[in-house]
């Protein structure tokens, strides 16, 4: 196990060193472009909702739509072949080539064709296959796999491509600039397209009503691939069918913006094949094209390859809504560091690849990289069809958790009273059962902290459970937040403005106790009655390890504990953003509707609540205000807090209290729960964090503050000093012990 983790760490390190810079620059560029481009849309959310409901409806009615499409295409003069799996599709396509005596097939970019590995199959059958998309062609020449679903060669630099071409083709003059490389490729590929017998494309969408397929491209190679040869083959997953032409509109508006940040790509081909354009027969160069006696042939190969089973699978079904725009890759902090060669499976890459790989290639293919999704949730708001990508990752992780470390399990058994029926690995169980670890750790603190971080024990933890040796484990506090609260002498306000249950999340209770104390002082200063009853952990830790059963039983106990207070008119205030994200989001999948809704509705993030109090007339006088001459604050909001749109409350309250705030704009700090503690991901986590470190250092402010526990740990490791929580800066001074 430990050596498996070592080799994974080595693989990730290698990819970061060789491809990290190119991938990072490109994906961040796409991601920034996305924010800008969708920001220009007046009705962005409405378009996303429309896109989502079109997909929901289409997948619901898929068998019917496939029938309708088949009829339509046949009416148009084409053929539809429904391929059960990759082998079936490949055989059919090879047959079409044989029937056409094809020596060469030219292709435009298609991930689905990569999924079935048609190139390899046709080459074996003696058909030359040429990728005409420039990025795909580079990879074909280099014999490499795509590192991104939309821009397949983003891991290659211009210099790398120039070296490759100069070596492979030995041109008269060495190629150097992007213009030279493009012109060279255009010429080479132009020649190859001229002599092609068959053109193959993918399809981004296909409409059942007219048999029109939409192809979203920029280079013009797909247009040539269709226009020149007489025979066209389109390869598409069954999930690409939508009911009507009008349904294409929201996707056309969203796909380029979401992916590479272009408002629209150069070409949206709307092909209703066989197309009514004359073939361009370069073997007969002097007959006007309009006079040719064309007999265009069209084959639509619709691929099932596991999709119909995904449709029946309640949890994986959402994957089929994916339009493969790549937003979830570009917005992902881990993907930005490593790209698809580490964060990807056999065909697909990025967060949603877990769903695709599990569905089309099987669980083993998804297992390889599924850990790289940390559940930060930044992709959810970026996804144009609103897929809960982290949830798909959680589900697949849960299904993968079959006991793999029998001989080591006894070591943590005592610390892992989970309700998992199958056995997640020891590392997952250690982090998944953080609650008990914290309880025990706190009882024997500070000895436990000293022991855990001391050489020998730290090394055992590393060997057995893969806890990165370079990380200091969180320091448990001897007096928990709740114990402090219970032991206070205080008179509850007689006529409070509001009544609050402050949720003692595990981190606040056992580790970051000061932020809990600060929250109590701040709320009381604003005229609120505060209670801190015993409530169990939210289940975030087990959920992040894919231990859904354990998470569900935690959720039930939280609802049991908080329910009566909510019924009694208390608001629930939460300090840890990842726990609030549970209450407002994940609990929907773990609890009965009613208990989910009442808890979600009455839960607030601490600064969101303070903001509400201030707008309802509370006075900032009770808080610690900035001194007169522009006290500055560098603030990093938690990833899930940003997805919930709550970071702005912290900024607004800081502002109201006179602070001059600079916010970071990285998607995630890199720690993401326990991810950055894992030995095999430590270096990746630090690489992701390096951007944040740079921003925080550049801001050069009087205070560095953060909202989440993970971010606090990570920034502590990056800067050598732990940041405090927003509420600690703002709360009135008080006892700190």
């Amino acid at each position: 196990m430990s050596s498996e983790r070592d080799s994974k760490a080595a693989h990730i390190r290698h990819i970061m060193e060789t491809e990290g810079d190119a991938v990072g620059a490109n994906t961040r560029g796409f991601n920034d472009g996305r924010y800008e481009s969708v920001g220009e849309l007046e009705d962005y959310d409405a378009l996303k909702d429309e896109a989502r409901s079109i997909k929901e409806d289409a997948i619901e009615r898929l068998p019917h739509l496939v029938d309708e499409l088949t009829e339509t295409v046949e009416e148009n003069g084409g053929t539809v072949y429904l391929a059960e799996d990759a082998a079936d599709a490949n055989e059919y396509i090879a047959e079409v080539c044989t029937d056409n005596e094809a020596d060469r097939l030219v292709k435009s970019k298609s991930m689905t064709s990569e999924e079935i590995e048609i190139n390899e199959h046709l080459e074996r059958e003696g058909v030359e296959v040429v990728e005409t998309d420039l990025g795909e062609w580079v990879l074909q020449v280099a014999d490499e796999a795509p590192s991104h679903i939309v821009a397949p060669a983003i891991h290659k630099s211009r210099e790398g491509i120039a070296d490759l071409f100069n070596e492979q083709f030995d041109p008269e003059e060495d190629l150097e600039t992007a213009e030279e490389l493009t012109a060279f490729a255009r010429e080479q590929l132009g020649e190859l397209i001229r002599g092609a017998d068959v053109g193959m494309t993918g399809a981004n969408f296909i409409t059942a009503d007219s048999g029109t397929m939409a192809l979203v491209t920029s280079e013009g190679n797909a247009r040539k691939t269709v226009a020149v040869p007489e025979t066209q083959i389109a390869v598409a997953g069954v999930e690409k069918v939508v009911p009507s032409v009008e349904d294409l509109q929201p996707f056309v508006e969203l796909i380029g913006r979401s992916g590479t940040g272009q408002d629209i790509t150069s070409y949206i081909s709307l092909l209703t094949p066989p197309v009514n354009s004359p073939t361009v027969d370069f073997d007969d160069p002097d007959t006007p094209v309009a006079d040719g006696d064309d007999d265009r042939e069209f084959h639509l190969v619709l691929i099932d390859n596991g999709r119909m089973a995904m449709r029946e699978d309640e949890e994986l079904r959402e994957t089929l809504y994916c339009i493969r725009c790549s937003a979830c890759s570009n917005t992902c902090a881990n993907f930005q560091s490593v790209g698809g060669h580490a964060f990807g499976g056999e065909t697909y890459s990025g967060g949603i690849a877990t769903g695709w790989e599990a569905g089309v290639h099987g669980m083993d293919a998804a297992a390889e990289f599924n850990d790289l999704c940390t559940g930060c949730s930044r992709c959810v708001e970026a996804c144009p069809v609103g897929i809960d990508i982290p949830w798909i990752n959680t589900v697949v992780r849960d299904r993968l958790n079959t006991g793999t470390d029998p001989e080591l399990e006894f070591l943590v058994d005592g610390l892992t009273p989970d309700t998992e029926t199958s056995g997640p690995g020891i590392q997952k169980r250690l982090f998944g059962n953080f609650e008990l670890l914290a309880k025990v750790g706190s009882t024997v603190a500070p000895v436990s902290n000293w022991v855990a971080n001391a050489g020998p024990v730290s090394r055992v933890l590393q060997r057995a459970a893969g806890v990165a040796h370079d990380r200091d484990l969180p320091a448990f506090q001897r007096t928990t937040f709740r114990e402090w609260f219970e032991g206070r002498d205080r008179v509850p306000p007689i006529d409070p403005d509001r009544r609050v249950v402050l949720y003692p999340d595990l981190y606040t209770n056992y580790i970051l106790v000061n932020r809990g104390k600060a929250a109590v002082r701040a709320l009381e200063a604003l005229g609120v009655e505060v209670l801190v009853p015993p409530v169990p952990g939210s289940g975030r830790a087990p959920l992040s390890q894919g231990m859904i059963d354990t998470a569900r039983s935690k959720a039930e106990r939280v609802a049991e504990a908080l329910g009566p207070y909510v019924a009694d008119g208390y608001d629930v205030v939460v300090i840890e953003p990842s726990d609030l994200a549970m209450f407002r989001g994940d609990y929907e999948r773990l609890l009965p509707e009613e208990s989910f809704e009442s808890l979600a509705e009455h839960s607030y993030e601490i600064l969101e609540y303070v903001y509400g109090l201030l707008t309802n007339g509370a006075d900032t006088d009770g808080l610690t205000l900035a001194d007169g001459d522009g006290e500055t604050v560098a603030y990093h909001a938690h990833c899930q807090q940003r997805t919930m749109g709550l970071d702005e409350y912290s900024v607004a309250v800081l502002d109201a209290c006179g602070y001059d705030v600079t916010t970071s704009d990285v998607e995630c700090c890199g720690m993401a729960g326990s991810f950055g503690y894992k030995e095999q991901y430590y270096e990746l986590a630090m690489d992701v964090g390096s951007t944040l470190e740079e921003q925080l250092r550049d801001a050069d402010c009087d205070h560095v503050i953060a909202s989440g526990t993970s971010c606090t740990d990570q920034i502590g490791d990056l800067l050598g000093e732990e940041p405090s929580h927003v509420i600690e800066l703002l709360a009135p001074d008080g006892e700190t012990t």
Binding site: L134, R158, V280, P285, A290
Partner: protein, 169 residues
């Protein structure tokens, strides 16, 4: 001319220009001259489908594969344009408008002002009706062809490097 048309026209003009596309306006009778001064020879083209709007001499309208290959310019009609994206709609036809608009370094598109619609919603209503009825094919083209696959953005990948639009009004 209605207000809406004027708005769409202005928005379209601003958008296409932002993609580096040149836009000229011409009355029906002046279109031939406008095309003549836009093209780089040799030029191929497909006949314009509107009465009183002609291609200039010197544009080969019944091109062979060799003509298409050698042409520096392709001239075709655009059937529709989308104002807020600066997109033009190129419909495929038996005359070969698709290859003619695709192979040359310069594509000159001729567009009637009244065929500019405000947005994608309007465009897709039109597509819905047209494509269900005729089962034709078309390309929504926005700016020249482009690629970022070679290390930085380059205009003119497999398709035209430059696009010019002549609006007939």
């Amino acid at each position: 001319m209605s207000n809406q048309h004027a708005n769409s026209h202005n928005q379209f003009a601003a958008q296409v220009r932002s993609y580096g596309v040149e836009l000229t306006e011409a009355s029906p009778g002046a279109v031939a001259d406008a095309i003549a001064s836009a093209i780089d020879p040799p030029a191929v083209g497909t006949p314009l489908p509107w009465d009183g709007v002609e291609l200039p001499d010197g544009v080969e309208t019944d091109p062979t594969p060799a003509d298409i290959e050698d042409a520096a310019t392709g001239v075709t009609a655009a059937s529709l344009a989308v104002a807020d994206y600066g997109s033009i709609v190129l419909r495929m036809d038996d005359a070969g408008s698709e290859p003619v608009s695709l192979f040359g370094d310069l594509h000159v598109a001729v567009l009637r002002e009244e065929d500019i619609v405000p947005d994608m919603e309007a465009a897709f209503e039109w597509f819905g009706e047209q494509l269900r009825e005729t089962r034709d094919s078309a390309v929504v083209a926005t700016g020249p062809s482009a690629t970022a696959d070679m290390g930085s953005l380059v205009q003119g990948a497999h398709g035209p490097k430059r696009v010019e639009v002549i609006v007939v009004r």
